[in-house]
Each structure stands twice: as structure tokens, then as C-alpha cells.
Point group: C2
């Protein structure tokens, strides 16, 4: 006879939304670039990630901005249209998640 099991009731929509957001194609790489100290220009982020297209970076930055993980700030330029992207406070707080995933990759997949 099989013993009764405790019910599983650990579903959490907030957790699921976050893991699926940061797991979208290129999102993890974009977050990692923005973890650097300074705000970054669009073209800097693009140049840092091999294979990422202009179109997808635009879409991902839009999603991150909508979720208040990234914000747009004026670039220190003469041009009035120059902007940069930087993490918000909640975005910066994702650093522990990025570090945990990086550490796992190092341990089990041989990452740097």
C-alpha cells in the first residue's frame, strides 16, 4: 500500500512571472551587462552580446522598462536625444539571482 502524500500547494504566480521574464531569450545576458556600474547606451549593450539583434534588444529593453527593472536616463551628451539604460532598485536587487545562476553554471557547466 502506498502511503498518502502531503498535498503540493507551492504554486506562486509572482515567482513564475519573474523566472519566465528573466528567462526570455537574451534577457539574462542583457541583465548581466546592465549589472555593471554605469548606465549603458543601447549600442554598448548590443555590442556586448554576440548574436543579439537590434530588434530583440529593443523589445527586451521595452519589457524590462515596463516591469520597472530598467529605466531610461539621459546620457551625458550634447545631443538631447541620447539616452542610456540602467537598472532600477528592483533591477539591481536581481543581482543575487544573476549571481546564483552564474555560480550554478560554474559548478555544473564549467562556466568562468
Amino acid at each position: 500500500m502506498v502511503a498518502p502524500r502531503p498535498p503540493i500547494s507551492i504554486y506562486c504566480e509572482h515567482y513564475q512571472a519573474v523566472i519566465e521574464l528573466i528567462g526570455r531569450r537574451w534577457m539574462g545576458a542583457i541583465l548581466r551587462v546592465l549589472m555593471s556600474d554605469e548606465p549603458r547606451r543601447f549600442n554598448e549593450v548590443l555590442a556586448a552580446i554576440p548574436g543579439l539583434s537590434d530588434r530583440l534588444l529593443t523589445e527586451r529593453l521595452r519589457e524590462l522598462t515596463e516591469h520597472e527593472i530598467v529605466e531610461r536616463v539621459p546620457a551625458p551628451d550634447i545631443s538631447p536625444i541620447a539616452i542610456q539604460y540602467r537598472l532600477t532598485n528592483s533591477g539591481r536587487d536581481l543581482e543575487v539571482v544573476v549571481r546564483a545562476i552564474s555560480a550554478w553554471a560554474r559548478r555544473w557547466r564549467g562556466g568562468p
Copy 2:
């Protein structure tokens, strides 16, 4: 004049593969169910996650097994075909990642 910036060279394919794997639709929820102590049957995992289809659970478990994050073990049944799913050592080591994302969701999205 804009000061020169340090080059960004923090791209890591292993990290990116992991974050995109665990961020696939329903994957985070499935991992969370399997973080429970005992191995789980297919139908238990299915029942624990509202909205998850039979077909997608099959696909996700196949992917997790291929990546050696989940393994199939015999169920303690009379039936010789009954199997269960449990995390491997590397899968269990993802717990710190799952906990970090859950904690972030709690802080910034009001999760439980």
C-alpha cells in the same frame, strides 16, 4: 567630451543557457514542485500547477532529464511501468536559484 568606457566582456554562454532553460514556460513552477522532498509522479506535478497541459509537462520533463537536472526513478508500486521524477544533485543545487527568485518576487511583487 565623453570619457572612455571600460569594455564590457561579461558574456557567458553557460549562464545564458541555464537562465533561458529555467525560464521556459512552466519550468520554474515544475522545479518548485520537484524541490519537495519526495520524488513526484507525473500526475502529481500536473495537478500542482494550474494551467499546465499534459503535453507541455511531458516536454519540460524531457528537457530537464536531458539536461540532467531531473531523473526518472521507479515508483514504489506494483506496476512495473510506474515511474517518478526527482531532482538530480545538480537539480537540487538549483534550490538556491529558486529561493533567490522567490525572495525577489516577495520583495518586489508581493508574492507569499
